[in-house]
C-alpha cells in the first residue's frame, strides 16, 4: 500500500476512534481500517503487553505520530500488502496476525498505573525496509554532495550507513575521499591511473583500451585473469582494466555476500550498482545492498537486533537504549515484539522470559544445557499411564489425559488421578519439600538439589511442549473463526474472542514456564516464594482450564460457551500479570538469585 493511501485510512481510523468509546470496535465496516491500525503499530510499536501504557485513546496519538513520520521520511513506505482490500484468502491470515499483534487492553491499564519504567520506543523493520530507508537518505544527501546518487550509495555503504560520519569526512576532505573509496571524480571520463593499491603492473596488465562502463563483445580477447583467448563479452571501468565477462561474474558472485564495495580487479575504482547489474545480466546489486545492511545490523547490535525466532527476518530497531539500564535495575526485561508477533527480550535476545530476568534466564538455560539431553527428551515426550503402563505421547495442549487403552483419567503433570484437579485447589506445581529431618549428609544434599532441579526442569519442559502445541492450536483458530462465521452467521469481529483466548493462553504458558526457572533459584523457605508458588498454582489451573476450553471443536458449543471463554481468558490475563509482578518482587528483594 502506498504511503498516501495509508494516510487516508489513518484519517478514517482517527474518526472511528473518536466515535467509539468501548475498547472493542464492533462496526462491521471497520474491519480493514482496523488492520491499518496495525500498520501504524508496525512503525511505532510501544512495548506490548507488559509495559505499554497505550490505551485505545493512545492509538489516536499513535496515528497522528505516524502521519508526521510519513511526511518527514518520504522514502519510507509501509509494506502492508497483506491487507489487500476484499481479498478473502489473505484476509484470514492477515487478521490472525493482526489480532495477535494487538496489545491486551486490560493489562495496558495496569501498566499505566505503574509507570515505573519508560516506554521502549522501537520499530520493526526488514532489511528491505532499511534499504528503502537508505535510499531515502541518499536522496536527502544528493543536493549536498552534488554527485550522482549511485556514488552516494557507495559512500554510505563504505561508512556503514553512518550519515553523520560520512558528512564529517566529506567536509574535511571531499576529493581524497572520493579517490580513496574508488569513485571517479571526473565522471565518465577515462583516467590514466587511479591505483592506490600496491600493485605491480606487468606488461600484461596494461591493456588500457579506454572502454567505459559497458559490456562489449570482442571477437578476440585475451583475459589476464583466466589466461584464455576467446571471443567473449568483456567489461571495463574508466580505468581500462578489461576482463572477460565470465571472470567478472565469478568475481562479483563471490563478493555479493560480503556486503563490501566491489572494486575493479585491477585498481581501486568501485563498481556501481548499475555496473553490477549490467555485468551479471540481472539485478544482483540489491543482494549486495541487503548483505551490506545485514552486516550493518550485526555491527550495530546495541540498537538493532534480529528476531531470534527461526526463519523470521525482522529487525527491531530500538531508538533510545538509555532506558535499558533502568529496566535491568528494576528487574524488568525489555521485551519487544516483531511484526510477526514474536516476542523476545532485547537485552539477551532470548524469547520472552518473564517473570525471570535475563540473569536467571541465562543461568537456567546454561544449566539445562549441561544436564543430560537424553533425559530431557524422555521427560518431555513420553510417559507411562499410571494404571496400565502404556507409553503415552502427549499431542494436545491440555493436561487432562485419558488413557486410550484403559480409559484412566489422570493429570499429565503429577500423574495422579484427574478427579481432584477439576474441582479442588490445583496442587501440581508445588514442589513437595520432603525435608523430614533437617540434617542430611552432603551427598544427600546434592541428590536433593538434583531432584529439585529435575522436578523444576520437568515442569519447565512440560509447559514448553504444551506451549508449542498451543501454538499449533493457534494456527487452526483462524479456521475455527471462519467456521463460526459460516455456520453460525456471526461477524468476524465477534469471533475474535477465540484469537484473544489463544494469545492469552500462549502468554500465560510462557510466563508459567519461566516461573519455574525463578522458583528454582528462589529461597524456598521465604514467605514470598511461597506466595509465588501459590500464584504459580493458580495460573497453572487457569491455563489448564482455558486450554481445555480451546480444545472444543464444535462451533455451536463454542458460541454457547462464549462467556466462559471471556471469563477464563480474563482470569488467565490477571493471573499472568500477578505472577510476573510477584516474580519481579522476588528478584528485586534478592530472594531469587542465580549465583
Amino acid at each position: 500500500m502506498k504511503a498516501w493511501e495509508t494516510l487516508d485510512t489513518l484519517k478514517i481510523l482517527q474518526t472511528h476512534i473518536k466515535k467509539s468509546d468501548s475498547n472493542r470496535i464492533m462496526t462491521e465496516g471497520y474491519t480493514y481500517d482496523y488492520s491499518d491500525d496495525d500498520s501504524a503499530d508496525s512503525i511505532e510499536f510501544y512495548n506490548s503487553g507488559h509495559l505499554s501504557p497505550s490505551t485505545r485513546k493512545d492509538h489516536l496519538t499513535k496515528a497522528t505520530k505516524v502521519t508526521s513520520i510519513l511526511s518527514q521520511e518520504s522514502g519510507f513506505e509501509i509494506d502492508d500488502g497483506l491487507y489487500s482490500d476484499n481479498d478473502y484468502d489473505d484476509y484470514d491470515q492477515a487478521y490472525l496476525d493482526n489480532v495477535l499483534a494487538e496489545p491486551i487492553s486490560s493489562q495496558e491499564k495496569k501498566e499505566l498505573s505503574k509507570g515505573t519504567v519508560p516506554n521502549l520506543k522501537y520499530e520493526c523493520l526488514t532489511t528491505q525496509n532499511i534499504f528503502e530507508n537508505m535510499l531515502g537518505k541518499v536522496n536527502h544527501l544528493q543536493p549536498i554532495f552534488n554527485i550522482p546518487s549511485e556514488d552516494i550509495l557507495i559512500l554510505l555503504q563504505h561508512y556503514d550507513w553512518n550519515e553523520e560520519r560520512l558528512l564529517e569526512v566529506w567536509t574535511e576532505r571531499m576529493d581524497d575521499l572520493l579517490i580513496e573509496i574508488g569513485i571517479n571524480p571526473n565522471h565518465g571520463k577515462s583516467i590514466d591511473k587511479l591505483s592506490t593499491k600496491d600493485k605491480i603492473n606487468d606488461d600484461e596488465l596494461n591493456q588500457a583500451t579506454g572502454a567505459s562502463r559497458d559490456v562489449v563483445f570482442k571477437n578476440k580477447f585475451y583475459c589476464i585473469i583466466c589466461c584464455e583467448e576467446k571471443s567473449t563479452e568483456t567489461f571495463a571501468l574508466e580505468c581500462g582494466h578489461e576482463y572477460c565477462i565470465d571472470c567478472y561474474r565469478h568475481y562479483i558472485e563471490d563478493k555479493l555476500h560480503s556486503g563490501n564495495i566491489i572494486n575493479c580487479m585491477g585498481c581501486s575504482l568501485a563498481l556501481k550498482n548499475e555496473d553490477i547489474d549490467k555485468i551479471m545480466g540481472h539485478p544482483s546489486s540489491t543482494k549486495l545492498m541487503l548483505s551490506s545492511i545485514k552486516s550493518f545490523v550485526s555491527k550495530h547490535n546495541r540498537n538493532y537486533k534480529w528476531c531470534p525466532f527461526a526463519d523470521c527476518n525482522c529487525i527491531i530497531h530500538l531508538k533510545d537504549t538509555s532506558s535499558l539500564a533502568e529496566y535491568s535495575r528494576l528487574h524488568y526485561s525489555p521485551f519487544v515484539k516483531c511484526s510477526h508477533s514474536h516476542k523476545f527480550c532485547f537485552t539477551c535476545g532470548f524469547e520472552m522470559h518473564a517473570p525471570a530476568d535475563c540473569n536467571i534466564t541465562n543461568a537456567w538455560v546454561k544449566k539445562a544445557r549441561k544436564e543430560s539431553e537424553n533425559l530431557n527428551w524422555v521427560l518431555s515426550h513420553t510417559k507411562e499411564c499410571p494404571k496400565c503402563s502404556v507409553n503415552i505421547e502427549k499431542d494436545g495442549g491440555c493436561n487432562h489425559m485419558i488413557c486410550s487403552s484403559c480409559k484412566y483419567e489422570f493429570c499429565w503433570i503429577c500423574e495422579g488421578d484427574w478427579a481432584p484437579h477439576g474441582k479442588s485447589f490445583y496442587q501440581c506445581t508445588l514442589y513437595k519439600n520432603d525435608e523430614t529431618n533437617g540434617n542430611g549428609t552432603k551427598t544427600e544434599d546434592v541428590a536433593k538439589t538434583m531432584k529439585k532441579y529435575t522436578f523444576y526442569y520437568r515442569m519447565f519442559n512440560e509447559h514448553e511442549v504444551s506451549a508449542k502445541l498451543d501454538w499449533k492450536l493457534g494456527q487452526t483458530v483462524g479456521n475455527k473463526v471462519k467456521a463460526l462465521q459460516e455456520k453460525m452467521g456471526i461477524s468476524w469481529i465477534e469471533g475474535q474472542f477465540l484469537t484473544d483466548s489463544i494469545r492469552t493462553l500462549n502468554e500465560g504458558r510462557t510466563a508459567l514456564k519461566w516461573s519455574f526457572a525463578v522458583a528454582f533459584y528462589s529461597d524456598s523457605s521465604h514467605n514470598l516464594t511461597k506466595i509465588f508458588v501459590d500464584n504459580q498454582s493458580l495460573l497453572s489451573k487457569a491455563v489448564e482450564d482455558l486450554s481445555e476450553l480451546l480444545q472444543i471443536k464444535d462451533p455451536e458449543v463454542i458460541m454457547a460457551k462464549k462467556t466462559e471463554f471471556y471469563n477464563k481468558t480474563g482470569y488467565v490475563e490477571n493471573r499472568t500479570y500477578a505472577l510476573m509482578e510477584c516474580g519481579r518482587d522476588l528478584l528485586c528483594k534478592g530472594i531469587c538469585k542465580s549465583g
Binding site: 593499491k197 600496491d198 600493485k199 605491480i200 606487468d202 596488465l205 589476464i224 585473469i225 583466466c226 589466461c227 584464455e228 582494466h241 576482463y243 571472470c247 565469478h250 568475481y251 563471490d254 572494486n263 580487479m265 585491477g266
Partner: protein, 151 residues
Amino acid sequence: MASLPKRIIKETERLVSDPVPGITAEPHDDNLRYFEVTIEGPAGSPYENGIFQLELYLPDDYPMEAPKVRFLTKIYHPNIDRLGRICLDVLKTNWSPALQIRTVLLSIQALLASPNPNDPLANDVAEDWIKNEEGAKNKAREWTQLYATKK
C-alpha cells in the same frame, strides 16, 4: 585431479622462464597447485643473507581466492607468527584476481624489508619491535643466522 586452469599453467611457466630475482617457486610434482618457495632476505634488512623457505598453495577457487602462503623457516618478524602465518593485506581483504603468485611473493619480500609493528600478528615480537627496535633487529639477525642460513 581436475585439469589445471590455463591461468595456473601460464603463471607457472613464467615463474620458471622469467624468475623474479631473489625468489624461487617450484610446483610440487604430485600437486601442481602446491609450490615450494624460497625468498632471499632483502639487502639492508635484518634478514639479509638469509634464505627463507615458504609453502604456497593455490586453492580451488584461485584466482578468485588468494593463494595460501606460509613461512616454513623460523623468522623473527612482527607480522609473521610462530606458525609462519603472514599478516599481509593482499593475502586477505585486498586480494584481487588481477594479482599473481609473483606479485604476492614480491609483497612478502617487501614485508621483510619493512616490517609493520603497528599491525602485528605476533604481538610479543611487535611489542619488542616498538619498545626496542635495535634489540629486536639484532634478534631477527640472530634468528636469520640460526635458522635461515645454509650450512
